[in-house]
């Protein structure tokens, strides 16, 4: 909310978005409560590692990479840092950020809402990853978030994006003892909105994934390897 001050309605990708509709209540709290149980429930992140590897290999070492919704920093921020990149992570959960600092001490991790990234002055970046973070937004906001990322990435920089395949909008589901609201697209729709936001889809992967928890149903994970259309 604070991000809306001092910025004109016409500024940036979020400029046309009704910021008054933004409601993150409960989302950060849920992840604060989940903490490191998150990584226990979601082991074996082959798809995410593959997507991170694709992006890390694409960029020259020392590139600035944005991790949107960095979570615990594992495995992606760690992987990117290990590949020699400078990682900046943002998340809304202080507990997650704390874990992230511990897991990737060399990274820069900040409590910044996606909607406030433009005004934070952190960008631009050489590339960005957004693994299962855009799904925390209501559908109506996701195209804005994608456009924002488009503006925060330089040139034809890469974007690695992960979503859960579903056809839901701001849908409350039980999640590791908490409740979160998620949105999703079936893959054709996802391709379309990613493309409409100005990204070229270089390749994609789908993984059938079963979290190691009875509280989260198995899911189809979609990984899109995108390049920014300049």
């Amino acid at each position: 909310m604070s991000g809306s001050d001092g910025h004109g309605a016409y500024h940036g990708a979020y400029g046309a978005f009704d910021r008054a509709s933004i409601d993150r209540s409960g989302q950060a709290e849920a992840f604060d409560a989940i903490g490191d149980r998150y990584d226990e429930a979601f082991p074996h992140k082959e798809g995410q590692l593959a997507a991170g590897q694709w992006l890390a290999d694409l960029l020259p070492p020392g590139s600035r990479v944005l991790d949107v919704g960095c979570g615990t920093g594992l495995p992606s921020a760690r992987q990117l840092a290990d590949a020699g990149h400078r990682v900046t992570g943002i998340d809304v959960s202080p507990a997650m950020l704390k874990l992230c600092h511990d897991n990737v001490p060399e990274g820069e991790f900040l409590r910044v809402d996606m909607a406030d990234l433009e005004s934070s002055g952190l960008g631009p970046f050489d590339g960005a990853v957004a693994f299962f973070s855009l799904l925390m937004l209501p559908r109506v906001e996701i195209p804005f978030a994608l456009r924002m990322l488009h503006e925060q990435i330089r040139d034809d920089g890469p974007l690695a994006l992960a979503m859960v395949e579903a056809d839901v909008d701001d849908f409350s589901i039980p999640f590791l003892g908490n409740t979160i609201r998620v949105s999703g697209y079936l893959r054709d729709d996802l391709r379309r909105i990613v493309s409409e936001a100005g990204f070229e889809i270089a390749s994609e992967d789908a993984y059938a994934y079963a979290p190691a928890s009875t509280d989260v149903p198995p899911e189809i994970q979609l990984f899109l390897h995108c390049r920014r259309r300049p």
């Binding site: 056809d167 839901v168 079936l186 993984y207 059938a208 079963a210 009875t214 149903p217 198995p218 189809i220």
Partner: protein, 733 residues
């Protein structure tokens, strides 16, 4: 120890050490005018000429074979005094030194007459009356001690031979009427047991110690028995021919064994209105030489079987609470004093107690049978065979059939290929426990079917148990295995913890909060979620497996854990032990004396389902959802190389999803699962189940389920706490 117990129970005949009830007036009157032959009442061990039949009453002497040989009751066995003595002897062999051989003692009928003749006669009569009372008291106790049919009949035989008669035949109706049932068909009496004293002193001595089962029945084949024919005092039952046949008649049929060539009929059909029927209806015992009995006995024993004459045989109908259930024939040898009129009263007492005991035993046996049946019918006939887990179970009733338990187990398939595993144990052992078990099992099954979380299932089970009654106490362990997540969620209501045998061979007692038992009320249950890796085996059991009189529950659990680990060591490294033999191994931890309680055992081997065999989506219910679902299904089938199924699957998915989105408000779920079949589940938040109804020719819809019914190998709809799941399965091409 053994000896002490034996001595406590030893009351084969009235003994001098027994407290003597003051003889009531009526009884001493009954004693009058009966100078001869009160039943055995000699003080045990005196060996002196205490009474006319005293030595006969000295039961020990006449006992050729140990009772233990053919008694099968689990209680401490009554044994004769001579056996007790013999066991006390270092040699453990011969008891003849302390025992007066019966044959030599029997010709002492009028020993009392040698006393002071004036006072003596009255005193003698009173003494005999008291002896009779004591005898009847001891004998009826002996009879009443029996819990089952054979024990009761054995009690009658032991009590009356040799103290009261030299031989006895006990006939019971076949089949025995149970309770108030009105029997149909002809009344048939079957020789249930017969008994007699041995005729030959050597025989007595050589058979004092044997522990051979069925010694009684095999006795006639003993070399010593070959001398039977030379003994003059038999036949008691005048089988046409040698005395040995008579011996067979009695001994051969003992215990209902039906040895070759019994002289007395094994079976007698009571002719309606015939002489036997008349005697039986009369209830009162009669002498065999009375007009009524002399016609009735041939009907009972078969033609040509003479009984000793001169009041040496008594035919006593056995009348239970409602009807005659059999007859007993008491026989005395010719060299023994005949029965007196008062002995009919004794026969009546013995018969009454026996008949009531048989009634009781039949009812008791019936109850145990019913309870056992009840228990078994309330357990699963067979376990389901869900995908991703193998199941095996065992149920063992307690060693004593009367101790019906309330143990149960269950396995209930849930949506998403999950399975609920249940084991429970109703407190107490009775028919009621079995009935409560049935109620709780049904309740647990219903709650499980709603796919409630384990702690919720226990919570509602607890509430329901309290609604059912105030004493519905049980322990219960409820676990849900999710083969896709490789996890298990367990909640416990006071039950022993499950044991997990890991693939590597490590056995682990799972740490689950114990929780309060079902039926206590007001206590929250806690669920624990644990890893359930593929290849691991979870063992749920009831306390009968681990707890016994000799072993406390935690020792038993540790024992079980060790046994599982030991069994795993014997199997190929890395491979899990086959499940059924594993169950048998586990049951082997029970020692012979450990079966105090019934035992339920449920073993689950986790195979798991690979995530790649599962596809799962949430879909907002909208007009286009059916089309989306079709596309998702098609893509999944392509991924699994199951394009052949595309057409029917798309059709069925489309029908079910169309139904689901019509009323659903929240996103529906579409799940596809590939195992040995293709399974599809569509979940929504509307609890109403779809019904198969006949669509009219003009109906636009309504044919969906008919399609499903026709095309699917199996299909169904399950109501959940959050809505419902409609599913179908197709065979793989």
């Amino acid at each position: 120890m053994e000896t002490e117990r034996v001595t406590e129970h030893e009351k084969p005949a009235a003994s001098a050490t027994e407290p003597t009830p003051p003889p009531p007036a009526g009884n001493s009157r009954r004693g009058q005018g009966n100078p001869a032959g009160p039943p055995g009442a000699s003080p045990a061990g005196s060996g002196g000429p205490a009474g006319p039949l005293g030595p006969l009453g000295h039961d020990a002497v006449g006992r050729p074979r140990p009772e233990a040989a053919d008694e099968h009751a689990p209680q401490p066995q009554p044994q004769s005094q001579s056996q007790v003595q013999a066991q006390a002897q270092p040699s453990g062999q011969s008891s003849s030194g302390s025992v007066t051989p019966m044959a030599s003692s029997s010709p002492l009928p009028e020993g009392a007459g040698q006393r002071d003749p004036a006072e003596g006669e009255r005193a003698e009569r009173e003494r005999r009356g008291g002896d009779r009372l004591r005898f009847v008291g001891a004998a009826t106790r002996r009879i009443a001690r029996g819990v089952d049919l054979d024990e009761t009949v054995l009690g009658l035989c032991r009590a009356s031979v040799p103290a009261y008669a030299d031989a006895i035949l006990v006939y019971l109706r076949d089949p025995l009427p149970v309770g108030d049932e009105r029997p149909t068909g002809p009344v048939v009496l079957r020789l249930r047991r017969s008994d007699r004293i041995p005729e030959y002193p050597q025989f007595t001595q050589t058979q004092t110690q044997p522990q051979i089962p069925e010694a009684r029945a095999t006795a006639p084949d003993d070399p010593a028995a070959g001398a039977l024919g030379a003994v003059p005092m038999l036949p008691l039952l005048g089988a046409a021919g040698a005395g040995q046949d008579a011996g067979r008649a009695v001994a051969g049929a003992a215990g209902g064994q039906g040895q070759s060539g019994p002289a007395a009929s094994e079976l007698a059909e009571v002719r309606p209105g015939g002489p036997l029927a008349e005697v039986l209806r009369g209830v009162r015992p009669v002498f065999a030489d009375s007009p009524a009995a002399s016609a009735a006995l041939p009907e009972l024993l078969g033609p040509g079987r003479d009984v000793p004459g001169g009041h040496r045989a008594v035919l006593a109908p056995l009348r239970g609470r409602r009807r005659v259930i059999g007859a007993a024939v008491f026989l005395r040898r010719p060299d023994r004093p005949a029965f007196e009129p008062d002995d009919l009263l004794i026969a009546a007492q013995l018969a009454t107690h026996t008949a009531l005991g048989v009634d009781k035993a039949v009812l008791y046996g019936r109850e145990a049978y019913i309870a056992d049946e009840l228990q078994r019918t309330m357990l699963p006939d067979e376990l389901p065979q869900p995908t991703g887990v193998q199941l095996a179970s065992r149920y063992l009733p307690a060693a004593e059939t009367a101790r019906v338990g309330g143990d149960w187990y269950d396995a209930i398939p849930l949506p998403g290929s999950r399975v609920a595993l249940v084991v429970g144990d109703v407190m107490g052992h009775s028919m009621t426990s079995a009935a409560i078990m049935g109620q709780l099992r049904t309740t647990a099954q219903t709650l499980a079917g709603l796919d409630l979380p384990p702690q919720e299932v226990l919570h509602h089970l607890d509430e329901q148990a309290q609604r059912l009654g105030s004493d519905r106490m049980a322990t219960c362990l409820y676990a849900v295995y999710d083969p896709v997540a490789h996890r298990i969620v367990v909640a416990n209501a006071g039950h022993p913890p499950p044991v997990m045998l890991h693939r590597g061979g490590r056995a682990e007692v799972l740490r689950i909060p114990a929780g309060a038992p079902i039926g206590v009320g007001g206590v929250d249950f806690e669920a624990v979620e644990l890893d359930a890796p593929a290849g691991a085996t979870l063992l749920l059991y009831t306390d009968g497996l681990v707890e016994s009189r000799q072993r406390d529950v935690w020792t038993g659990i540790e024992h079980l854990r060790e046994r599982l680990a030991a069994t795993a060591r014997l199997t190929r490294p890395g491979a899990a032990a086959p499940l059924e033999p594993l169950c048998d191994e586990v049951l082997d931890i029970l020692g012979p004396g450990d079966r105090d309680d019934d035992i339920a055992l449920l073993a689950a081997r986790f195979d798991g389902i690979a995530p790649s065999d599962v596809a799962y989506w949430f879909l907002d219910p909208r007009a286009q959802t059916a089309g989306q679902a079709r596309r998702l299904a098609r893509r999944a089938l392509a991924r699994w190389d199951l394009e052949e199924l595309t057409e029917p699957v798309e059709l069925l998915v489309s029908e079910i999803v169309t139904n689901a989105v019509r009323y659903a408000e929240r996103p529906i779920t579409l799940r596809l699962l590939r195992t040995d079949t293709l399974r599809c589940e569509v979940g929504d938040d509307v609890p109403q189940l779809p019904r198969l109804r006949q669509a009219r020719a003009t109906d636009e819809g309504g044919r969906g389920l008919y399609l499903v019914n026709r095309l699917a190998r199996r299909w169904g709809a399950t109501r959940l706490s959050t809505g419902k799941v409609v599913w179908f399965e197709l065979g793989l091409p």
